[in-house]
Amino acid sequence: MSAELLAAPDKGGGLLDVLRRRELLRLIVRKELKVRYRSSVLGLLWSYVKPGVQFIVFYFALGVFLGLNKQPNFVIYMFSGIILVNFFSEAFSNATRSVVANGALVKKIFLPRELFPVASVWVAVVHFLPQFLILLTACFFFGWSPSIVQLIGAIGAFVIVALLSLGLGLLFAAANVMFRDSENIVDLMLMMATWLSPVLYAWYLVRDTLGETFYFFYQLNPMTIAVELFHFAFWAPTAAVRTAAEGARMPDNLISLWLPVGLLISVLILALGQTVFRRLEGRFAQEL
């Protein structure tokens, strides 16, 4: 029993510690899923009702009234972007709140605190999957036939959003312990997230209206890249788009340049989030 060496109790391996305590992560995720919709009749269905209503509102306001519907398969275009932004919003905002919400545990039991933001992102993935299934079903109805490259792009987009939301989540979760303003800042950022990416409009409108320079910075946003990749994977290969006169207009070098760029930026943000989180983590117990 005493073969083990003396070691500091709070030796932190950061996110690696989370891997070591997968079992606990799974239990926390299960708890979150169970507790989220406690004593509600619709339960998990709420996860579909909310994006569903949001979708209908956008569809009528933008598609029907503003005439964006003229674009072929605008429904798929919009829905593929919306579910990705929803995934990002849920992961990011819950991860930000996770450490403060689990304050009782953070203060009393030593565990890798990264567990909480990671669990939040995981829960968001669980809520993302059924929406994704709805998207796939719809795609098949619209004659979807993707290439391997397009599918790789979709996986890349998912990884980008997961890494990005975890990185930002870690960063703002740590900041939130010090200043509760973070939650509001995050809400503001999420309010803009839908509009900072080409979810409801076409990417080339940004380039044509605001010029190449602005477009370059616009394109550096990993969410923009991810949404475009989803359009490339799910909207572009549907029948009506393929046969349309102008085809699917996608940004140049989406797979060869922007996918790696998006991944790189997300990894950098994750590294930044982890560093700040580790730096502040030692003070969590006394600040909460």
Binding site: L27, I109, Q286
Partner: protein
Amino acid sequence: MAAEAIVVDQVSKRFNLRHTRSLKETVVWLFKGRRGDLSSTFMALDGVDVTVDVGESVALLGFNGSGKSTLLKLISGVMSTDTGSVKTRGKVAGLIEVGAGFHPDLTGRENVFLNGVLLGMTEKETEARFDEIVEFSEIGKFIDTEVKFYSSGMFLRLAFSVAVHTKPDVFLIDEILSVGDEPFQKKCLARIQELRESGCTLVVVSHDLDMVSKVCDRGVVLRQGKKVADGPISEAVRLLREG
């Protein structure tokens, strides 16, 4: 075998008492030329040295605010030290406060698993000890009821029961033996004695001097963050009673 289980070396901990919670207040303070203190500090622990050998049971004694609980939190790793170092050997289970990981909307059974794993067991180990845990807690048929419907006594009994069945190498106990009714308290004490006999290292924080004298062999007395005595439990208790 006189290997150390816990080595606390010259540990100090200073608390920052911040008087603000929002960014706005901080900014206003900066613009007003930093008038007034935004925070004040106080020393919770000041250069404390304690070494606990494997199998020893030590009581941390002292009046309110003497730094006992802070020291325990440093040992468990929940807080980190400002200066000095804390080292531990083996699995440390902190019973800093029972029931911290309990969620009111989960059933007793779900909470047992969640907390068992939180406290460092694997799911399999929890499964293996599940019956023992439930039996010890005397919860019986309520185990599949949501915890929010439990009486406070039932809640604490179940929480305590999970904690004492984790079989750690080092067991940290903070003021939790005031759990439940008299018979249950006796049972808890018996369980802790059992752990002690099985070679588990105990660190106990309590104001119940009679109980502490029974459970521990050694007492460390803290006063305003400084160690003032370290010796046999009877002497430590006498020192504290005399004030």
